[in-house]
Amino acid sequence: MGILEVKGVNKRFGGLQALGDVNLSVEENIVHAIIGPNGAGKSTLLNCLVGKLIPDTGSVTFDGQSVLGRTPYEINQMGISRVFQTPEIFGDLTVFENMVIPAFAKRDGSFRMHAIESVAAEKDICMKAEQMLVEVNMQDKIQMHAASLSRGDKRRLEMAMCLLQEPRLLLLDEPTAGMARADTNNTIDLLKEIKEQRDITICIIEHDMHVVFSLADRITVLAQGTPLVEDSPENIRGNPKVREAYLGEAA
């Protein structure tokens, strides 16, 4: 039994069958990659996991509990964090404030009226935020406005915000899309570090084969809304069906 179980999920948008009978089991404490050509349903699947979309049929359970019908913030409180394709951060706030918010969410839950004591008086929260910024090597940018960070730093910040919550499952939606090679390699290193240092399950959706093969322990190939194969990276590389559906003969 994996930490995340997807069973018989269907999702239809009008005439388009975006997901057809998807079964997926993500084992605990591994990096599980989901790959597939454009329009294979990767993002739809991800949106079904975090509560943005509700599948037409099927079940999604996280650690034995169903996530269906729950809102994104409830699912996050269960221990699933999501990193977006384009970094979603609080652009108007400073890097430090960006880090403090998930720390409060982790400690106080989805709502707490906390209107008199100042943020600066919450010593343990501030310490936690600062430590995490040191860990991702952004301590020199602590007072910068998040909107003025470089794209790579925005991604790094978003990842740090997710990690601060100590999620059990981290979902990454094309974390290196549109990045320069150097930034991509930095992200790979960061993810490798995360994987080694923490008890965390990472589920990653990615186009870039270089990223997938340097990180993944397990790969599921989606094509036209249905899982084609699920196997280890070595076997995926050699699988003729995958070559045909996704990598193309030349790959």
Partner: protein, 411 residues
């Protein structure tokens, strides 16, 4: 007091301004030609601080969360009605009146906020506007009929001799008072040379309440709750995926903001025991928005400045008539004088809205951060004088990156 140094300085400055207002706002001797620009008389000073409270509260909603309420005047009106009812039923003591106006406005904002906050952006604004106009209609006609007269319609709610006033005793003044201290009386009238300064009981009650709620607003701005509200404005999507539910945060901000407006309404009625429906009309709501944006939305002091600015214009500019203009331009040749009066005439007196409109356009165009931004720019000019270019080691944004500008209105 739990404030950092700069916030403490700000609070002290505001306290000095508020408590010293009778001096500060009366800079011209009584019989000088400039005396009409004096704003230090009780009625106007009361308005400054009361509308300051209103704008501080509005700013908690609009400045922090970006939700633009176009119906805040409804809470002001509800607060006034509640206060006058307390005068009618209990006594002229302002304490129960103010307390009830805050509570009633709070309950009222739970109702309106719960429904309106189901939508955001322009739809939220329209919903609040609709609610405010409904409240206006209710107050103006529906709730004022012989069988059930809650608001007394277009006459306005006031205290009559036949009202119960069950706690009214011999010896207590027959006007709003605080344990016998009449709000409209002055405790001190100073005459120094050509100057006159008036110290009014009601004004000082309002000023002290304003300082208290201003202090609470500073605490709220610096608190985790305030941070979450700013996060709502910045990126609701990320907030959702960070495990936080934006709805109760925005609703709480809406209610707090409504209670501030109710407090302002209660104080208005305490200074002048009359509540009329026109206080709830949409122009009144629009005025609150103008005050906040003019002063600087999202800043602590901005809304107070904006409120003072607009009330000053409303009361001072509207009093300048053609006679005054002729006096001003008397030194010019006759034809020239008439011409100047002709030019300036539309902008003063009844046309003060025109001047205000032009100023508002100028501020929004050139100082999108409001009067506060203007002040900061001037302060920076002074600070940078004498410094060489490039000396400034404060943070400079990377020219390669263009952070997107904060929108005035939440999307």
């Amino acid at each position: 007091m739990g404030l950092n140094k700069s916030d403490m300085t700000l609070l002290i400055v505001v306290a000095i301004l508020a408590l010293g207002a009778p001096f500060i706002l009366n800079p011209f001797p009584v019989d000088s030609g400039m005396a009409q620009f004096n704003a230090g008389y009780p009625d106007l000073m009361q308005r400054f601080v009361i509308f300051g409270i209103l704008a501080i509260g509005f700013n908690i909603l609009f400045g922090l969360t970006g939700y633009l309420s176009f119906g805040h005047a409804a809470f002001l009106g509800v607060g006034s009605y509640a206060a006058v009812w307390m005068f009618k039923l209990l006594s002229y003591n302002v304490l129960p009146a103010i307390a009830l106006s805050v509570v009633v406005a709070g309950l009222f904002s739970v109702l309106i906020g719960y429904v309106s906050l189901r939508r955001s952006g322009i739809y939220f604004s329209i919903l609040t506007l609709a609610f405010a106009q409904m409240s206006f209609a209710l107050a103006y006609s529906v709730l004022s009929n012989p069988k059930f007269n809650l608001t007394n319609g277009e006459t306005g709610l006031q205290v009559y001799a036949g009202d119960p006033q069950i706690f009214h005793r011999e010896g207590l003044p027959d006007v709003p008072h605080l344990f016998g201290i009449a709000m409209r009386d002055n405790f001190l009238e100073l005459k120094m040379g050509g100057w006159e300064f008036t110290f009014n009981n009601g004004y000082y009650l309002c000023a002290i309440i304003m300082l208290v709620v201003f202090y609470l607003a500073i605490r709220l701005f610096r608190s985790p709750f305030g941070l979450m509200l700013r996060a709502v404005k910045s990126n609701q999507n990320r907030l959702n995926y960070t495990g936080l539910n934006p709805k109760p945060y925005t609703l709480a901000a809406f209610i707090i903001s409504g209670m501030y407006a109710g407090l302002a309404g209660g104080l208005l009625a305490s200074m002048d025991p009359l509540a009329g429906a026109e206080r709830m009309q949409w122009t009144a709501s629009g005025e609150i928005v103008l005050m906040t944006i003019l002063g600087g939305a999202g800043t602590l002091i901005g809304p107070v400045l904006g409120a003072g600015f607009i009330k000053y214009f409303e009361n001072i500019f509207s009093k300048i008539n053609d006679n005054v203009l002729h006096q001003w331009f008397a030194f010019m040749p006759d034809g020239m004088e008439d011409f100047m009066v002709f030019i300036v005439h539309p902008f003063v007196g009844k046309g003060w809205h025109l001047t205000l409109g032009i100023l508002f356009m100028l501020v929004v165009t050139f100082l999108p951060g409001g009067l506060v931004e203007g002040g900061q720019r001037i302060a920076n000019l002074f600070r940078n004088r004498g410094k060489k270019k490039g000396d400034d080691d404060s943070y400079k944004p990377d020219p390669e990156h263009h952070p997107k500008e904060t929108p005035h209105v939440a999307e």
